[in-house]
Subunit: 161 residues, 3 copies
Protein backbone atom coordinates (compact mmCIF):
# COMPACT_ATOMS: atom_id res chain seq x y z
CA UNK A 1 0.00 0.00 0.00
CA UNK A 2 1.42 3.36 -0.98
CA UNK A 3 1.66 6.00 1.69
CA UNK A 4 0.01 9.38 1.35
CA UNK A 5 2.21 12.45 1.15
CA UNK A 6 1.43 13.40 4.74
CA UNK A 7 2.18 9.87 5.94
CA UNK A 8 5.55 10.01 4.19
CA UNK A 9 6.42 13.35 5.76
CA UNK A 10 5.22 12.11 9.17
CA UNK A 11 7.41 9.03 8.80
CA UNK A 12 10.39 11.24 7.91
CA UNK A 13 9.79 13.34 11.03
CA UNK A 14 9.68 10.15 13.14
CA UNK A 15 13.06 9.28 11.61
CA UNK A 16 14.34 12.69 12.67
CA UNK A 17 14.25 14.35 9.27
CA UNK A 18 12.43 17.37 7.95
CA UNK A 19 12.41 17.94 4.23
CA UNK A 20 15.14 20.44 3.40
CA UNK A 21 14.37 23.48 1.31
CA UNK A 22 15.94 22.34 -1.94
CA UNK A 23 18.10 24.39 -4.24
CA UNK A 24 16.19 26.51 -6.74
CA UNK A 25 16.14 25.53 -10.41
CA UNK A 26 18.80 27.02 -12.65
CA UNK A 27 18.54 28.28 -16.20
CA UNK A 28 19.47 25.36 -18.40
CA UNK A 29 18.98 22.44 -16.10
CA UNK A 30 16.37 21.68 -13.49
CA UNK A 31 16.09 19.55 -10.37
CA UNK A 32 13.60 17.09 -11.86
CA UNK A 33 11.92 16.14 -15.12
CA UNK A 34 8.91 13.85 -15.58
CA UNK A 35 8.50 11.76 -18.70
CA UNK A 36 6.38 8.71 -19.39
CA UNK A 37 5.45 8.02 -15.78
CA UNK A 38 9.00 8.38 -14.50
CA UNK A 39 10.42 11.29 -12.51
CA UNK A 40 14.13 11.81 -13.09
CA UNK A 41 15.72 13.72 -10.22
CA UNK A 42 19.07 15.44 -10.74
CA UNK A 43 22.05 14.25 -8.71
CA UNK A 44 21.65 15.60 -5.18
CA UNK A 45 24.43 16.56 -2.80
CA UNK A 46 24.08 16.06 0.98
CA UNK A 47 22.85 19.54 1.79
CA UNK A 48 21.52 19.76 5.33
CA UNK A 49 18.18 21.16 6.54
CA UNK A 50 19.81 24.60 6.48
CA UNK A 51 20.62 24.21 2.80
CA UNK A 52 24.35 24.03 3.54
CA UNK A 53 26.97 21.38 2.96
CA UNK A 54 28.45 20.41 6.33
CA UNK A 55 32.27 20.42 6.40
CA UNK A 56 32.02 16.86 7.73
CA UNK A 57 30.44 15.89 4.39
CA UNK A 58 33.18 17.42 2.22
CA UNK A 59 36.13 15.30 1.18
CA UNK A 60 36.96 11.73 0.36
CA UNK A 61 35.40 8.83 2.24
CA UNK A 62 38.15 6.77 3.77
CA UNK A 63 40.46 9.78 3.86
CA UNK A 64 39.01 12.65 5.85
CA UNK A 65 35.36 11.63 5.80
CA UNK A 66 34.48 8.59 7.90
CA UNK A 67 32.22 5.80 6.72
CA UNK A 68 29.70 6.70 9.44
CA UNK A 69 29.58 10.34 8.29
CA UNK A 70 29.28 9.23 4.67
CA UNK A 71 26.31 7.01 5.62
CA UNK A 72 24.61 10.06 7.13
CA UNK A 73 25.48 12.11 4.05
CA UNK A 74 23.94 9.42 1.82
CA UNK A 75 20.71 9.74 3.81
CA UNK A 76 20.78 13.51 3.34
CA UNK A 77 21.31 13.18 -0.41
CA UNK A 78 18.33 10.82 -0.61
CA UNK A 79 16.32 13.27 1.50
CA UNK A 80 17.14 16.01 -0.98
CA UNK A 81 15.89 13.73 -3.78
CA UNK A 82 12.57 13.52 -1.92
CA UNK A 83 12.58 17.27 -1.33
CA UNK A 84 13.04 17.91 -5.06
CA UNK A 85 10.31 15.37 -5.82
CA UNK A 86 7.95 17.21 -3.47
CA UNK A 87 8.65 20.57 -5.13
CA UNK A 88 7.95 19.01 -8.51
CA UNK A 89 4.94 16.88 -7.58
CA UNK A 90 3.39 19.06 -4.89
CA UNK A 91 2.57 15.90 -2.93
CA UNK A 92 4.91 13.01 -2.18
CA UNK A 93 1.87 10.72 -2.24
CA UNK A 94 2.09 10.86 -6.04
CA UNK A 95 5.21 8.66 -5.82
CA UNK A 96 4.23 5.11 -6.72
CA UNK A 97 7.64 3.72 -5.99
CA UNK A 98 11.33 4.41 -6.04
CA UNK A 99 12.69 2.80 -9.23
CA UNK A 100 16.42 3.40 -9.00
CA UNK A 101 19.05 5.21 -6.97
CA UNK A 102 22.52 5.81 -8.37
CA UNK A 103 25.08 6.68 -5.73
CA UNK A 104 28.46 8.19 -6.47
CA UNK A 105 30.85 8.19 -3.53
CA UNK A 106 33.87 10.52 -3.52
CA UNK A 107 36.29 8.01 -2.07
CA UNK A 108 39.90 7.28 -1.32
CA UNK A 109 41.41 4.93 -3.85
CA UNK A 110 41.42 2.00 -1.43
CA UNK A 111 37.96 2.51 0.08
CA UNK A 112 35.73 -0.36 -0.99
CA UNK A 113 32.83 -0.25 1.52
CA UNK A 114 30.67 1.66 -0.95
CA UNK A 115 27.60 -0.51 -0.44
CA UNK A 116 27.59 0.24 3.28
CA UNK A 117 27.69 3.97 2.58
CA UNK A 118 24.89 3.76 0.02
CA UNK A 119 22.73 1.94 2.56
CA UNK A 120 22.28 5.34 4.18
CA UNK A 121 20.34 6.44 1.10
CA UNK A 122 18.46 3.16 0.61
CA UNK A 123 17.43 2.99 4.27
CA UNK A 124 16.12 6.56 4.19
CA UNK A 125 14.01 5.87 1.11
CA UNK A 126 12.81 2.58 2.57
CA UNK A 127 11.89 4.24 5.85
CA UNK A 128 10.01 7.04 4.11
CA UNK A 129 8.20 5.13 1.38
CA UNK A 130 7.60 1.73 3.01
CA UNK A 131 6.46 -0.85 0.48
CA UNK A 132 7.09 1.64 -2.32
CA UNK A 133 10.71 2.05 -1.25
CA UNK A 134 12.70 -0.93 -2.56
CA UNK A 135 14.66 0.12 -5.62
CA UNK A 136 17.37 -0.95 -8.03
CA UNK A 137 20.68 0.57 -7.12
CA UNK A 138 24.27 1.18 -8.10
CA UNK A 139 27.15 2.33 -5.90
CA UNK A 140 30.22 3.69 -7.65
CA UNK A 141 33.38 5.40 -6.46
CA UNK A 142 33.90 8.88 -7.96
CA UNK A 143 37.20 10.69 -8.42
CA UNK A 144 35.55 13.91 -7.22
CA UNK A 145 32.10 15.47 -6.88
CA UNK A 146 30.68 18.99 -7.14
CA UNK A 147 31.78 21.23 -4.27
CA UNK A 148 33.93 18.35 -3.02
CA UNK A 149 30.87 16.64 -1.51
CA UNK A 150 31.46 13.10 -0.26
CA UNK A 151 28.40 11.70 -2.07
CA UNK A 152 25.90 12.45 -4.83
CA UNK A 153 22.68 10.48 -5.30
CA UNK A 154 20.35 10.62 -8.28
CA UNK A 155 16.91 9.04 -8.30
CA UNK A 156 14.20 7.78 -10.62
CA UNK A 157 10.70 7.52 -9.18
CA UNK A 158 7.58 6.07 -10.75
CA UNK A 159 4.78 8.59 -10.37
CA UNK A 160 1.03 8.65 -10.67
CA UNK A 161 -0.27 10.54 -13.73
Amino acid sequence: MERSGSEIEQKLRELGHGLPQPAAPLANYVPAVASGGLLFVSGQLPFGPDGKLSPTHVGKVGAGVTEAEAFRAAALSALNCLAQAKVFLGDLGRIRRCVRLSGFVNCAENFTALAGVMNGASDLIGGALGEAGPHARSAVGAAQLPLGACIEVEAIFEIAP
Copy 2:
Protein backbone atom coordinates in the same frame (compact mmCIF):
# COMPACT_ATOMS: atom_id res chain seq x y z
CA MET B 1 13.17 -11.98 -34.10
CA GLU B 2 13.41 -12.24 -30.35
CA ARG B 3 14.78 -15.42 -28.87
CA SER B 4 12.78 -17.52 -26.43
CA GLY B 5 14.10 -17.91 -22.91
CA SER B 6 15.33 -21.43 -23.58
CA GLU B 7 17.06 -20.30 -26.78
CA ILE B 8 18.84 -17.55 -24.83
CA GLU B 9 19.99 -19.99 -22.16
CA GLN B 10 21.06 -22.51 -24.84
CA LYS B 11 23.06 -19.77 -26.57
CA LEU B 12 24.74 -18.87 -23.27
CA ARG B 13 25.71 -22.52 -22.76
CA GLU B 14 27.19 -22.61 -26.27
CA LEU B 15 29.24 -19.56 -25.27
CA GLY B 16 30.44 -21.46 -22.22
CA HIS B 17 28.25 -19.71 -19.65
CA GLY B 18 25.65 -21.00 -17.25
CA LEU B 19 23.48 -18.44 -15.51
CA PRO B 20 24.94 -17.81 -12.05
CA GLN B 21 22.74 -18.04 -8.98
CA PRO B 22 22.39 -14.33 -8.29
CA ALA B 23 22.62 -12.62 -4.94
CA ALA B 24 19.38 -12.58 -2.97
CA PRO B 25 17.43 -9.34 -2.58
CA LEU B 26 18.20 -7.19 0.44
CA ALA B 27 15.89 -5.24 2.65
CA ASN B 28 15.79 -1.73 1.23
CA TYR B 29 17.03 -2.30 -2.26
CA VAL B 30 16.43 -5.06 -4.76
CA PRO B 31 18.20 -6.52 -7.77
CA ALA B 32 15.65 -5.29 -10.30
CA VAL B 33 12.59 -3.07 -10.64
CA ALA B 34 10.16 -2.93 -13.57
CA SER B 35 8.36 0.26 -14.46
CA GLY B 36 6.61 1.32 -17.64
CA GLY B 37 7.94 -1.47 -19.81
CA LEU B 38 11.54 -1.08 -18.64
CA LEU B 39 13.42 -3.38 -16.27
CA PHE B 40 16.09 -1.56 -14.28
CA VAL B 41 18.75 -3.98 -13.01
CA SER B 42 20.98 -2.94 -10.12
CA GLY B 43 24.71 -2.61 -10.74
CA GLN B 44 26.18 -6.11 -10.93
CA LEU B 45 29.66 -7.18 -9.90
CA PRO B 46 31.53 -9.96 -11.74
CA PHE B 47 30.52 -12.79 -9.45
CA GLY B 48 31.36 -16.17 -10.94
CA PRO B 49 29.10 -19.21 -11.36
CA ASP B 50 29.96 -20.12 -7.75
CA GLY B 51 28.64 -16.77 -6.56
CA LYS B 52 32.11 -15.62 -5.60
CA LEU B 53 34.30 -12.76 -6.73
CA SER B 54 37.51 -14.20 -8.19
CA PRO B 55 40.70 -12.59 -6.81
CA THR B 56 41.69 -12.00 -10.44
CA HIS B 57 38.67 -9.67 -10.70
CA VAL B 58 39.51 -7.58 -7.66
CA GLY B 59 41.65 -4.50 -8.05
CA LYS B 60 42.33 -1.78 -10.56
CA VAL B 61 42.45 -2.49 -14.27
CA GLY B 62 45.84 -1.46 -15.58
CA ALA B 63 47.42 -1.99 -12.16
CA GLY B 64 46.95 -5.51 -10.87
CA VAL B 65 44.03 -6.56 -13.08
CA THR B 66 44.88 -7.08 -16.75
CA GLU B 67 42.72 -5.82 -19.59
CA ALA B 68 42.05 -9.42 -20.66
CA GLU B 69 40.83 -10.35 -17.17
CA ALA B 70 38.72 -7.20 -17.00
CA PHE B 71 37.11 -8.14 -20.33
CA ARG B 72 36.15 -11.50 -18.82
CA ALA B 73 34.89 -9.78 -15.69
CA ALA B 74 32.73 -7.46 -17.81
CA ALA B 75 31.13 -10.54 -19.40
CA LEU B 76 30.45 -11.96 -15.94
CA SER B 77 28.85 -8.72 -14.77
CA ALA B 78 26.59 -8.75 -17.83
CA LEU B 79 25.78 -12.40 -17.17
CA ASN B 80 24.73 -11.47 -13.64
CA CYS B 81 22.45 -8.80 -15.13
CA LEU B 82 20.77 -11.54 -17.16
CA ALA B 83 20.62 -13.82 -14.11
CA GLN B 84 18.85 -11.10 -12.12
CA ALA B 85 16.50 -10.47 -15.04
CA LYS B 86 15.63 -14.18 -15.13
CA VAL B 87 14.85 -14.23 -11.40
CA PHE B 88 12.60 -11.21 -11.85
CA LEU B 89 10.92 -12.20 -15.12
CA GLY B 90 10.86 -15.96 -14.70
CA ASP B 91 11.67 -16.32 -18.40
CA LEU B 92 14.38 -14.43 -20.31
CA GLY B 93 12.14 -14.63 -23.37
CA ARG B 94 10.22 -11.70 -21.90
CA ILE B 95 13.19 -9.47 -22.73
CA ARG B 96 12.35 -7.50 -25.86
CA ARG B 97 15.75 -5.88 -26.06
CA CYS B 98 18.65 -4.56 -24.10
CA VAL B 99 18.22 -0.78 -23.92
CA ARG B 100 21.34 0.39 -22.12
CA LEU B 101 24.39 -0.88 -20.27
CA SER B 102 26.38 1.41 -17.99
CA GLY B 103 29.83 0.10 -17.20
CA PHE B 104 32.02 1.42 -14.41
CA VAL B 105 35.61 0.22 -14.54
CA ASN B 106 37.79 0.41 -11.42
CA CYS B 107 40.91 1.57 -13.21
CA ALA B 108 44.39 2.92 -12.77
CA GLU B 109 44.54 6.64 -13.39
CA ASN B 110 46.27 6.22 -16.75
CA PHE B 111 44.18 3.31 -18.09
CA THR B 112 42.15 4.54 -21.04
CA ALA B 113 41.12 1.31 -22.84
CA LEU B 114 37.73 1.32 -21.13
CA ALA B 115 35.77 0.64 -24.31
CA GLY B 116 37.72 -2.55 -24.93
CA VAL B 117 36.94 -3.76 -21.42
CA MET B 118 33.24 -2.94 -21.76
CA ASN B 119 33.12 -4.94 -24.99
CA GLY B 120 33.21 -8.02 -22.75
CA ALA B 121 29.76 -7.04 -21.47
CA SER B 122 28.36 -5.92 -24.83
CA ASP B 123 29.58 -9.06 -26.60
CA LEU B 124 27.98 -11.29 -23.96
CA ILE B 125 24.64 -9.54 -24.28
CA GLY B 126 24.88 -9.59 -28.06
CA GLY B 127 25.73 -13.28 -28.08
CA ALA B 128 22.85 -14.11 -25.75
CA LEU B 129 20.09 -11.90 -27.13
CA GLY B 130 20.95 -11.79 -30.84
CA GLU B 131 18.94 -9.11 -32.65
CA ALA B 132 17.59 -7.91 -29.30
CA GLY B 133 21.09 -7.35 -28.00
CA PRO B 134 22.40 -4.05 -29.42
CA HIS B 135 22.19 -1.37 -26.73
CA ALA B 136 23.21 2.16 -25.87
CA ARG B 137 26.25 2.17 -23.63
CA SER B 138 28.57 4.20 -21.47
CA ALA B 139 32.01 3.22 -20.18
CA VAL B 140 33.39 5.25 -17.27
CA GLY B 141 36.43 4.90 -15.03
CA ALA B 142 35.57 4.59 -11.33
CA ALA B 143 37.80 5.49 -8.40
CA GLN B 144 36.69 2.31 -6.61
CA LEU B 145 33.84 -0.20 -6.63
CA PRO B 146 32.07 -2.32 -4.01
CA LEU B 147 34.29 -5.11 -2.65
CA GLY B 148 37.12 -3.76 -4.78
CA ALA B 149 35.64 -5.38 -7.89
CA CYS B 150 37.29 -4.37 -11.17
CA ILE B 151 33.95 -3.66 -12.89
CA GLU B 152 30.27 -3.00 -12.22
CA VAL B 153 27.61 -3.10 -14.95
CA GLU B 154 24.03 -1.92 -14.66
CA ALA B 155 21.39 -2.65 -17.29
CA ILE B 156 18.04 -1.46 -18.58
CA PHE B 157 16.00 -3.96 -20.58
CA GLU B 158 12.74 -3.43 -22.44
CA ILE B 159 10.34 -6.16 -21.40
CA ALA B 160 7.06 -7.60 -22.63
CA PRO B 161 4.08 -6.75 -20.39
Copy 3:
Protein backbone atom coordinates in the same frame (compact mmCIF):
# COMPACT_ATOMS: atom_id res chain seq x y z
CA MET C 1 6.79 25.48 -28.07
CA GLU C 2 9.06 22.83 -29.50
CA ARG C 3 11.40 23.85 -32.27
CA SER C 4 11.41 22.12 -35.62
CA GLY C 5 14.47 20.19 -36.67
CA SER C 6 15.57 22.93 -39.06
CA GLU C 7 15.07 25.58 -36.38
CA ILE C 8 17.26 23.56 -34.00
CA GLU C 9 20.00 23.20 -36.59
CA GLN C 10 19.72 26.90 -37.48
CA LYS C 11 20.06 27.78 -33.79
CA LEU C 12 23.14 25.58 -33.52
CA ARG C 13 24.70 27.35 -36.51
CA GLU C 14 23.99 30.73 -34.87
CA LEU C 15 25.81 29.40 -31.81
CA GLY C 16 28.75 28.50 -34.05
CA HIS C 17 28.15 24.77 -34.20
CA GLY C 18 27.50 22.42 -37.07
CA LEU C 19 26.36 18.91 -36.23
CA PRO C 20 29.39 16.64 -36.33
CA GLN C 21 29.33 13.45 -38.37
CA PRO C 22 28.94 11.00 -35.52
CA ALA C 23 30.77 7.71 -35.12
CA ALA C 24 29.19 4.80 -36.94
CA PRO C 25 27.36 2.11 -34.98
CA LEU C 26 29.41 -0.89 -33.86
CA ALA C 27 28.45 -4.54 -33.75
CA ASN C 28 27.16 -5.19 -30.26
CA TYR C 29 26.32 -1.73 -29.11
CA VAL C 30 24.80 1.23 -30.87
CA PRO C 31 24.77 5.01 -30.46
CA ALA C 32 21.10 5.22 -29.48
CA VAL C 33 18.12 3.07 -28.56
CA ALA C 34 14.47 4.17 -28.34
CA SER C 35 12.08 2.52 -25.92
CA GLY C 36 8.76 3.67 -24.55
CA GLY C 37 9.00 7.25 -25.76
CA LEU C 38 12.55 7.73 -24.50
CA LEU C 39 15.71 7.87 -26.60
CA PHE C 40 18.77 6.65 -24.74
CA VAL C 41 21.98 8.00 -26.29
CA SER C 42 25.28 6.28 -25.56
CA GLY C 43 27.95 8.21 -23.69
CA GLN C 44 29.50 10.70 -26.12
CA LEU C 45 33.08 11.94 -26.12
CA PRO C 46 33.95 15.50 -27.22
CA PHE C 47 34.76 14.67 -30.83
CA GLY C 48 35.06 17.80 -32.94
CA PRO C 49 33.35 18.61 -36.26
CA ASP C 50 36.19 16.69 -37.95
CA GLY C 51 35.33 13.59 -35.94
CA LYS C 52 38.58 13.82 -34.01
CA LEU C 53 39.37 14.26 -30.35
CA SER C 54 41.39 17.44 -29.93
CA PRO C 55 44.57 17.02 -27.86
CA THR C 56 43.30 19.91 -25.74
CA HIS C 57 40.36 17.68 -24.72
CA VAL C 58 42.47 14.72 -23.65
CA GLY C 59 43.62 14.46 -20.05
CA LYS C 60 42.44 15.37 -16.60
CA VAL C 61 40.57 18.60 -15.91
CA GLY C 62 42.50 20.57 -13.33
CA ALA C 63 45.76 18.88 -14.37
CA GLY C 64 46.53 19.41 -18.04
CA VAL C 65 43.05 20.33 -19.25
CA THR C 66 41.79 23.73 -18.16
CA GLU C 67 38.28 24.35 -16.88
CA ALA C 68 37.59 26.59 -19.89
CA GLU C 69 38.66 23.86 -22.32
CA ALA C 70 36.60 21.29 -20.41
CA PHE C 71 33.55 23.57 -20.69
CA ARG C 72 34.04 23.62 -24.47
CA ALA C 73 34.52 19.86 -24.49
CA ALA C 74 31.26 19.43 -22.56
CA ALA C 75 29.47 21.42 -25.26
CA LEU C 76 31.01 19.18 -27.93
CA SER C 77 29.92 16.02 -26.11
CA ALA C 78 26.36 17.37 -25.91
CA LEU C 79 26.55 18.28 -29.59
CA ASN C 80 27.52 14.70 -30.37
CA CYS C 81 24.47 13.54 -28.38
CA LEU C 82 22.33 15.69 -30.69
CA ALA C 83 24.18 14.39 -33.74
CA GLN C 84 23.48 10.79 -32.71
CA ALA C 85 19.85 11.69 -32.03
CA LYS C 86 19.57 13.16 -35.53
CA VAL C 87 20.99 10.00 -37.12
CA PHE C 88 18.51 7.92 -35.19
CA LEU C 89 15.46 10.15 -35.53
CA GLY C 90 16.11 11.63 -38.96
CA ASP C 91 14.77 14.95 -37.72
CA LEU C 92 15.70 16.70 -34.47
CA GLY C 93 12.19 18.13 -34.41
CA ARG C 94 11.04 14.76 -33.08
CA ILE C 95 12.73 15.61 -29.77
CA ARG C 96 10.04 16.66 -27.31
CA ARG C 97 12.51 17.52 -24.60
CA CYS C 98 15.82 16.66 -23.07
CA VAL C 99 15.08 14.51 -19.99
CA ARG C 100 18.49 13.94 -18.48
CA LEU C 101 22.19 14.48 -19.06
CA SER C 102 24.79 12.52 -17.13
CA GLY C 103 28.24 14.06 -17.28
CA PHE C 104 31.40 12.26 -16.28
CA VAL C 105 34.44 14.50 -15.97
CA ASN C 106 37.92 12.98 -16.08
CA CYS C 107 39.37 15.14 -13.32
CA ALA C 108 42.29 15.67 -11.03
CA GLU C 109 41.58 14.42 -7.53
CA ASN C 110 41.20 17.93 -6.11
CA PHE C 111 39.13 19.44 -8.95
CA THR C 112 35.66 20.20 -7.63
CA ALA C 113 34.23 22.68 -10.19
CA LEU C 114 32.39 19.90 -11.99
CA ALA C 115 29.11 21.79 -12.21
CA GLY C 116 30.78 24.63 -14.05
CA VAL C 117 32.25 22.23 -16.59
CA MET C 118 28.91 20.47 -17.11
CA ASN C 119 27.27 23.84 -17.79
CA GLY C 120 28.98 23.65 -21.17
CA ALA C 121 26.73 20.71 -22.04
CA SER C 122 23.58 22.10 -20.44
CA ASP C 123 24.00 25.49 -22.11
CA LEU C 124 24.45 23.87 -25.52
CA ILE C 125 21.30 21.81 -25.12
CA GLY C 126 19.40 24.81 -23.79
CA GLY C 127 20.58 26.97 -26.68
CA ALA C 128 19.61 24.35 -29.24
CA LEU C 129 16.28 23.15 -27.87
CA GLY C 130 14.92 26.28 -26.19
CA GLU C 131 11.92 25.48 -24.00
CA ALA C 132 12.49 21.77 -24.58
CA GLY C 133 16.04 22.03 -23.26
CA PRO C 134 15.90 22.09 -19.43
CA HIS C 135 16.85 18.66 -18.11
CA ALA C 136 17.73 16.75 -14.97
CA ARG C 137 21.48 16.38 -14.60
CA SER C 138 24.30 14.78 -12.73
CA ALA C 139 27.98 15.76 -12.76
CA VAL C 140 30.45 13.18 -11.49
CA GLY C 141 34.23 12.97 -11.44
CA ALA C 142 35.63 9.94 -13.29
CA ALA C 143 38.97 8.24 -12.69
CA GLN C 144 39.46 7.93 -16.46
CA LEU C 145 37.42 7.94 -19.66
CA PRO C 146 37.68 6.18 -23.03
CA LEU C 147 40.63 7.46 -25.10
CA GLY C 148 41.61 9.64 -22.17
CA ALA C 149 38.88 12.16 -23.07
CA CYS C 150 38.29 14.87 -20.48
CA ILE C 151 34.49 14.39 -20.49
CA GLU C 152 31.75 11.96 -21.51
CA VAL C 153 28.08 12.92 -21.63
CA GLU C 154 25.13 10.57 -22.02
CA ALA C 155 21.60 11.76 -22.72
CA ILE C 156 17.99 10.70 -22.47
CA PHE C 157 15.52 12.54 -24.71
CA GLU C 158 11.75 12.28 -24.80
CA ILE C 159 10.69 11.76 -28.41
CA ALA C 160 7.51 11.94 -30.44
CA PRO C 161 6.17 8.54 -31.56
